[in-house]
């Protein structure tokens, strides 16, 4: 039986008999497909399928025969069946019946312009959502001012601990190392001119004005922003946010406002902490490489670092913080109920808030050219 070809046409005066043999199963589908594609079908007439030689048959085998016969101009309904076992007949009938639906038209591939338009309209479609979220947040904050009893102290303090207190070690490490590296590289240059003492001017201004606020903001975008989106997104997936609403609470008051307030409070504090640790890092380098003692360093610092500049760095921080919290929480609420969505939105939070921080920083620089 294995010697006989899988399909063999026996011509009769009224048409022909197709004798099937061997395995007609998924494992051999590709080779059977090639065989049938090159098969010489009879021209017209009635066809009968003889399944008496079949060893094994599965649904895909029936499908293959049906589709090829259909394409060759033999509607399945007009094909006689003979020699099939009882269970095979059931299979053949089921497959033929289920496949007897009009095929879908091939989906049109949209052109480049159409795809561009689609994407733009989808992005634009998000805008009302963002504005709506902003309005909702504004309303909740206004509510809070009118009715301060609604302030959720416990949630806010939990968040303050998470975004503020627990971030201290990593902020210290990062700003200290940047202070060290910055002072070291600057020191190599100014030593050539014998202008060692100016290390204090350079490092303190750079730290207070740009480095510490930006570093802390970037750190917060990655650390707290991602956490906000993932926490709120996971709650969205498990319908906890809907549960909050049906319990008569506002998800905005319970989830977003405490996070927003916590990060807005924590960020300037962390930035100031970063200022101090960063400058301390450069003081270490100044004393070991440039022969500037700590006392000299601090005395000089008092003279050259205007308070304005420190304040300027600190008042950027809450704005960064608000932008990060807004982007992160909105992305959290935008999570849909599937596994990939949480990851996608978290990534999007980190990227968007980094871009937002850099843009806001640039705006501040333009608004305050005098500093």
């Amino acid at each position: 039986m294995t010697d006989s070809p899988p399909i063999f046409l026996e011509r009769t005066e009224s048409g022909g008999v197709l004798r099937l043999a061997g395995d007609w199963r998924l494992a051999r589908l590709a080779s059977l497909d090639r065989l049938l594609s090159g098969f010489e079908w009879p021209k017209g007439g009635a066809l009968t399928l003889d399944g008496s030689g079949l060893a094994r048959l599965d649904g895909t085998g029936v499908m293959l025969l049906r589709n090829h016969l259909q394409a060759a101009g033999f509607p399945w309904q007009q094909i006689g069946l003979t020699g099939f076992a009882e269970d095979q007949l059931g299979l053949v009938r089921l497959v033929a019946e289920r496949l007897d639906v009009p095929a879908l038209p091939e989906p049109m591939q949209p052109g480049l312009l159409a795809r561009l338009g689609h994407r733009v309209s989808r992005l634009a479609g998000r805008l009302p959502n963002i504005i709506g979220f902003l309005g909702w947040l504004g309303e909740s904050l206004f509510d809070l001012v009118r009715r301060p009893a609604g302030f959720r102290a416990r949630e806010t303090f939990v968040q303050l601990e998470n975004v503020g207190l627990r971030a201290l070690p990593i902020v210290a490490l990062m700003t200290f190392l940047i202070g060290v590296v910055f002072a070291y590289l600057l020191g190599i240059q100014i030593e050539k001119y014998g202008a060692n003492i100016f290390i204090v001017d350079g490092v303190s201004m750079a730290m207070a004005r740009e480095l510490s606020p930006l570093l802390v903001a970037i750190l917060m975008a990655g650390r707290s922003g991602a956490a906000f989106t993932a926490q709120i997104g996971a709650m969205k997936v498990t319908e906890e946010i809907d549960a909050i609403t049906t319990l008569g609470l506002s998800p905005m008051q319970v989830l977003v406002v405490p996070r927003l307030i916590a990060i807005v409070i924590a960020m300037p504090l962390l930035t100031f902490f970063g200022d101090i640790v960063g400058i301390a890092g450069s003081a270490v380098i100044a004393s070991s490489q440039l022969d500037i003692t700590f006392v000299t360093f601090v005395t000089r610092l008092k003279d050259v670092l205007p308070v304005d500049m420190v304040v300027y760095g600190l008042y950027k921080a809450p704005v960064f913080a608000a932008a990060i919290a807004f982007i992160a929480c909105r992305n959290g609420f935008a999570v849909s109920r599937d596994a990939r969505s949480v990851g996608d939105k978290t990534t999007s939070t980190v990227v968007s808030s980094l871009v937002a921080v850099i843009l806001i920083n640039a705006m501040f620089a333009i608004l305050h050219p005098e500093l």
Binding site: G90, L94, L99, V101, L104, R337, D338
Partner: protein, 250 residues
């Protein structure tokens, strides 16, 4: 001929003895239901049968192979010969229905694209879905359609056996009966053997050949539904009378 032989399986999970010598077998072409109260380890037993969880003792022979003595490669070979329908469907949420069905096909067979699409369409139709469901994502499907899409994926490799974990849970009674009918048709026509866990009494009475009752870590009854319903055991009696009560009051 037995397709599945569960022999003296015992399972210890978190220090607790869950199965204490479970024995039963499933013959070719049979549809067998595993029932038992919550926490009796029906799902655990099902997961042990498909090689997701290791038993603490005893043997499970599936399709003629002792699955816990096989090498990982050989176990994966066996895995191509059965399908599993998870309770929540477990469709890959980032893929469309067609891509979900294509996943096992692409992994195990090298089919030309057009032929693969034909096989996908066949499975979609066998599971009773309209062809336009192919391009949808799982999140766009209703509960019943999700189960059908998951069934289509389980059928993709033309398995000899199906494992189903609570196939009708979460479906409304009409969809549940339709799903039962679909399963029965598929099992009869494709010559499939099926082992399912269920809490659905209508499924038991409607489509199952045999019922295996798990209680206290042992099989306490094994036979056609009508016979099992008559067994004089407190748990079985309260199980089947729960239905009588609900029928009586409605």
């Amino acid at each position: 001929m037995s397709v599945l032989e569960v022999d003296g399986v015992y399972t210890q999970l978190a220090g607790q003895l869950l199965h204490d010598g479970v024995n039963f077998r499933v013959n070719k072409g049979e549809v067998v239901a595993l029932i038992g109260g919550s926490g009796t380890g029906k799902t655990v037993l099902l997961r042990e049968c498909v090689g997701l969880l290791r038993t603490s003792g005893g043997s499970i022979r599936l399709l003629g192979e002792d699955i816990w003595s096989l090498s990982p490669q050989a176990l994966n070979q066996v895995r191509q010969r059965f399908g599993m329908l998870f309770q929540e469907g477990a469709l890959f949420s980032s893929l469309t229905v067609a891509e979900n069905i294509a996943a096992p096909l692409r992994e195990h067979l090298k089919l030309p694209a057009s032929l693969q699409n034909e096989v996908i369409a066949l499975n979609i139709r066998l599971a009773g879905l309209p062809l336009d469901a192919a391009a949808k994502r799982p999140s766009e499907l209703s509960g019943g359609m999700k189960k059908r899409a998951a069934l289509a994926r389980a059928l993709a490799l033309q398995p000899e056996m199906l494992f189903l974990d609570e196939p009708t849970s979460g479906l409304d009674p009409i969809s549940a009966r339709e799903f039962d009918r679909l399963l029965r048709t598929l099992c009869d026509s494709l010559g499939l053997t099926a082992l399912l866990t269920t809490h659905d009494l209508d499924t038991l009475w409607g489509m199952v050949d045999r019922v295996v009752v798990l209680h206290g870590g042992k099989v306490i009854a094994d036979g056609p539904v009508a016979d099992v319903a008559k067994v004089d055991h407190p748990w079985i009696q309260s199980y089947f009378s729960a239905q009588a009560l609900s029928r009586g009051t409605s």
